[in-house]
């Protein structure tokens, strides 16, 4: 999936617009029918994102169900992001990047140590941001809810031989992705602070978030 599709939505009509600095988190209930746009302001910024059925957090985004049912490992326009019940939470309705990852997971202190060595243990990491957001949100969200995530704007190519790589991003300043909520959906975002691989171009940067109501 590398089809590009621009959006006709007018930022002036968005009812919410904010900038999320690198290393920060954001939690938001997206009502059915509303649309979230994530703008990669400076290019090559991974935006780690979790989705939950707002009325049943146990029914959350499932990467494996999503890629199996769409028959492809990458996400793009037309991808329906399925929950464990097999029904979509949100769908990608516009995209000027062309490819998004959902197999690379979110960085953590522990995975950083495995991948890069002990000296990275105390670097900031997405799963710490997610835990902080979950604790702040409350309502029973905890570590068990940190399962599959999407890495918007991140490029993790898989090869027919069974290999996987973290490659330079294919995003660029100003590129964006838009998600329409198929039902009431809780969104958790960690704007990735990873400094040890090319997912953020070694320079994590802010993203802009806009929300339009469905009406």
């Amino acid at each position: 999936m590398s089809t590009l599709a621009e959006s006709g939505r007018d930022p002036a009509l968005a009812w919410l617009e904010c900038e999320l600095p690198a290393g920060e988190g954001w939690t938001h209930e997206l009502a059915a029918g509303s649309v979230l746009r994530i703008v990669d302001l400076h290019g090559n910024q991974a935006v780690d994102t979790l989705f939950f059925d707002a009325h049943n957090y146990a029914n959350r985004y499932s990467a494996v169900d999503t890629i199996r049912e769409q028959g492809s490992t990458y996400l793009g326009v037309g991808s329906r992001l399925l929950a464990l019940d097999g029904e979509p939470l949100v769908s990608i309705v516009a995209d000027t990047c062309g490819r998004h990852d959902t197999l690379g997971g979110a960085c953590s202190q522990e995975s950083n140590v495995v991948r890069y060595g002990e000296h990275t243990r105390h670097m900031h990491a997405c799963r710490n941001t997610f835990l902080a957001q979950a604790l702040r949100w409350g309502r029973g969200l905890d570590k068990r809810d940190l399962t599959a995530n999407i890495n918007f704007f991140m490029n993790v190519p898989l090869t027919p031989d069974g290999d996987l790589d973290f490659a330079d991003g294919i995003s660029a300043p100003g590129r964006y992705v838009e998600l329409a909520a198929d039902r009431d959906t809780l969104v958790l975002i960690s704007n990735c602070p990873q400094l040890n691989n090319p997912c953020n171009g070694y320079d994590p940067t802010p993203v802009r978030l806009l929300v339009w109501s469905g009406a």
Partner: protein, 240 residues
């Protein structure tokens, strides 16, 4: 550390459509045998003493730069430790990115069949079986994670397109896990959701559980990459 005990080898058969949850101890090995060929075994792994720590597909793949599982690959927890290593594999490719059957999928693809209709030939999806086994250990839907599909290959094309590979696993194909930490293993022997077979034909799987030597300094899985050396060290550090 566990004292050496003289327990005989366990040799079990998991019938097609069956499920099982069992704690496999550090320094034991579990061999799965595809008795008839064409089996699929959905598998979940949790650290036995704290199931909040569990198999992590993304961490496993990115630590080792792989998108499939085979011999030489370590199975990582989400806390940076190696739960188990694949020390033998005659199959070459086991899937971990395409999930398992749900009741809705089974009904749509193969049609439901109740116990009342079919007695123990009734059809139950991997989702139902895994959740029942998890519930026996106090775990639930929030503990569902991306599973392994032993004996299944879903090939990945140049643009990420998926295609199920038929007859990937021949009769007597086998794969062996050596456990680096005490691990709760949950298995369901049900067809893969992309299996094109018009018949619902779950296959039986042999399970052999036996003692295994702990990973030596020059163990090929430990030495496969610097990441694995750190992952093994993290597992061993919990034994202090």
């Amino acid at each position: 550390m566990h004292a050496a005990v003289d327990v005989p080898k366990l040799d079990l058969t998991l019938p097609g459509g069956g499920s099982l949850a069992r704690v496999c101890r550090r320094a034991s090995a579990l061999t799965l045998v595809d008795l008839e060929g064409g089996a699929n075994v959905a598998a979940l792994l949790y650290l036995a003493k704290n199931p909040l720590e569990r198999y992590c597909m993304p961490d496993t793949l990115k630590a080792q730069h792989v998108s499939r599982l085979t011999s030489g690959v370590a199975l990582y927890s989400d806390m940076g430790r190696v739960l188990a290593s694949i020390v033998h594999d005659s199959c070459g490719w086991h899937d971990t990115i395409t999930g398992h059957t749900t009741p809705a999928l089974l009904a749509a693809r193969w049609g439901p069949r109740s116990y009342q209709q079919a007695r123990n030939e009734c059809r139950r999806s991997a989702r139902e079986l895994l959740l029942i086994e998890l519930a026996k250990h106090g775990l639930g839907p929030r503990d569902l994670i991306a599973n392994i599909n032993f004996f299944t290959k879903v090939a990945i094309g140049a643009d990420g397109e998926l295609s199920y590979v038929r007859e990937h696993s021949p009769p007597a194909a086998s794969v062996t896990l050596r456990f680096e930490l005490d691990t709760l293993v949950v298995l369901a022997s049900t067809p893969h959701p992309l299996d094109p077979d018009e018949q619902w034909r779950p296959r039986p799987v042999g399970l052999v559980i036996e003692h295994a030597a702990q990973a030596a300094e020059d163990d090929p899985v430990r030495r496969a990459c610097p990441e694995n050396e750190r992952g093994f060290a993290a597992s061993e550090a919990t034994l202090l």
